[in-house]
């Protein structure tokens, strides 16, 4: 009984991951750019698709250049088939202490090999697609950048006329202070 279950499970897994013929495999968008500020994060999606009439198991890898910035979901049970595209959420996050700059890398999605080399020497071919990722870490996230024309605002300090009035008052006050505190001269007898 146990062996029967193992055999059936094996057959199901093979059917899930191994199409009988070559199939198309791709991802869209194939290029994603994340503009984020220090300590910020941003999510985008990419869709993995195929024209295989049977399910393809999908695995993924993130290149070293961006693996500290990127998380994806879901991470397990990935599969796709014709008319059932696989939507992947990609989250880019930078630490508050990250230096400003740009980081580029790829997230690669792969299928299991489609064929069997049989009795001869050869290679079983697996398909993959790489999504190019660019992460621009700036001082301000893109969504927070000010766009459009600058608004005219009054300067925070005093304008010229106010300053003159204040200076005049201060001078008068100083003069008055000097006059009051000036020691009176006494005539020597």
């Amino acid at each position: 009984m146990k062996s029967a279950i193992v055999i059936i499970t094996g057959i199901i897994l093979i059917l899930l991951s191994t199409p009988a013929h070559a199939v198309a495999f791709g991802a869209s968008p194939a290029t994603l750019t994340f503009d984020i500020g220090k300590g910020d994060s941003l999510e985008k999606t990419t869709t993995v698709s195929t024209n295989s009439p049977t399910y393809l198991g999908v695995t993924f890898s993130i290149s070293d250049e961006i693996k500290d910035f990127i998380t994806i979901s879901p991470t397990s049970g990935l599969k796709t088939k014709l008319n059932e595209p696989l939507e992947i959420t990609i989250k880019a996050k930078s630490s508050f202490f990250e230096e400003l700059g740009s980081h580029t890398g790829t997230i690669t999605f792969m299928t299991a090999p489609a064929g069997d080399t049989g009795s001869g020497t050869g290679s079983a071919i697996a398909n993959g697609v790489a999504v190019k990722i660019t992460i621009n870490v700036g001082s301000v996230a893109n969504s927070e950048k000010v766009t459009g024309e600058l608004l005219h605002t009054e300067p925070k300090g005093m304008n010229l006329s106010t300053a003159l009035v204040v200076m005049t008052i201060v001078l008068i006050a100083l003069a008055a202070l000097l006059f009051i505190t000036k020691p009176k001269c006494k005539a020597k007898k």
Partner: protein, 292 residues
């Protein structure tokens, strides 16, 4: 007395004749009002994506998606007065009036009219977008025409995302039976076909070959874009992914004629070690598409 009776009779006769004639006249009068035709008008056109959302359109590798556009058409002569609707969907490099092209232009000449309600009717145009429809801005132009031939048009735009996709037509590369120390005198051909809407490069990586006895390093495999003997193949296969930047596989219909697949051949050869291996040897070769 007779005079009174005669007078009453005369009055009744006159009244009968008068009302009777009026009735007759009313029965025979005919109204003839001609209502002028009012041209239809159109609300806001919306081009939905493949999921019916007002968001970017994502195509499917080697396959098609269906996108729709709809609009409410108003005809003050009655919604049923709208006779037909058509639509074109075209890339920013094309125009509404151009002929269909699998990369940049689609036409639906019989959009669906539904949901007549008073003066309104909803027009819906569906378009089948294939994987080679170019990325960028697409415009839908919908036109509704009434029974007298008067028409109205409206547009909306949406973005088609880039799609990197391939199909390796071989499922395996067979090197056949080889002697120890031999290499491929003639290479084995692998065909890579574009299944997306952008030019792609190929990234190759491979595992070491596991033989019945022993192993062959992946680096004993060489490949190139020219059909030459093993020694002249340009690049050695590595376990870590390596991009062939000169691959440059174009989009179907752009790099080729409409309807013709865009393909490239990659040629493969192997060197069998002089000792340490026997039986059959196999590995996994991963072919990855990347925007290029």
């Amino acid at each position: 007395m007779n005079k009174r009776i005669f007078l009453l009779a005369a009055v009744m006769l006159a009244a009968t004749l008068m009302f009777g004639f009026q009735t007759i006249l009313a029965d025979t009068a005919s109204g003839n009002v001609s209502i002028t035709n009012a041209a239809p008008t159109m609300g806001t056109v919306t081009l939905w994506n493949q999921n019916g959302a007002d968001a970017g359109i994502t195509l499917a590798a080697g396959s098609t998606v269906i996108v729709t556009a709809n609009v409410t058409v108003t005809d003050t002569n009655g919604g049923g007065n709208v006779a037909s609707a058509t639509g074109t969907l075209y890339h920013s490099t094309s125009t509404s009036g151009e002929s269909d092209d699998e990369n940049i232009h689609l036409t639906n000449s019989s959009c669906v009219l539904s949901g007549v309600s008073g003066n309104d009717v909803i027009a819906t145009c569906a378009f089948t977008m294939n994987y080679m429809a170019l990325n960028g801005t697409w415009t839908v132009n919908m036109t509704a025409t009434d029974l007298t031939g008067e028409s109205v048009s409206g547009t909306d735009t949406n973005t088609v995302n880039d799609l990197a996709a391939l199909d390796v037509t071989n499922t395996v590369i067979e090197f056949g039976s080889m002697a120890l120390g031999a290499n491929s005198s003639s290479p084995t051909t692998m065909i890579v076909r574009s299944q997306g809407n952008i030019q792609i490069d190929a990234i190759y990586s491979g595992t070491n070959y596991t033989c019945t006895s022993g192993t062959i390093p992946a680096t004993n495999t060489k490949y190139g874009l020219t059909s030459v003997a093993y020694d002249s193949l340009t690049t050695g296969l590595t376990e870590s992914p390596a991009t062939q930047t000169g691959f440059d596989l174009g989009v179907r219909g752009v790099a080729t004629a409409n309807g013709a697949d865009s393909e490239k051949n990659e040629y493969w050869g192997i060197l069998i070690p002089t000792s340490g291996v026997s039986g059959t040897c196999s590995n996994t070769l991963t072919v990855t598409a990347v925007a290029g």
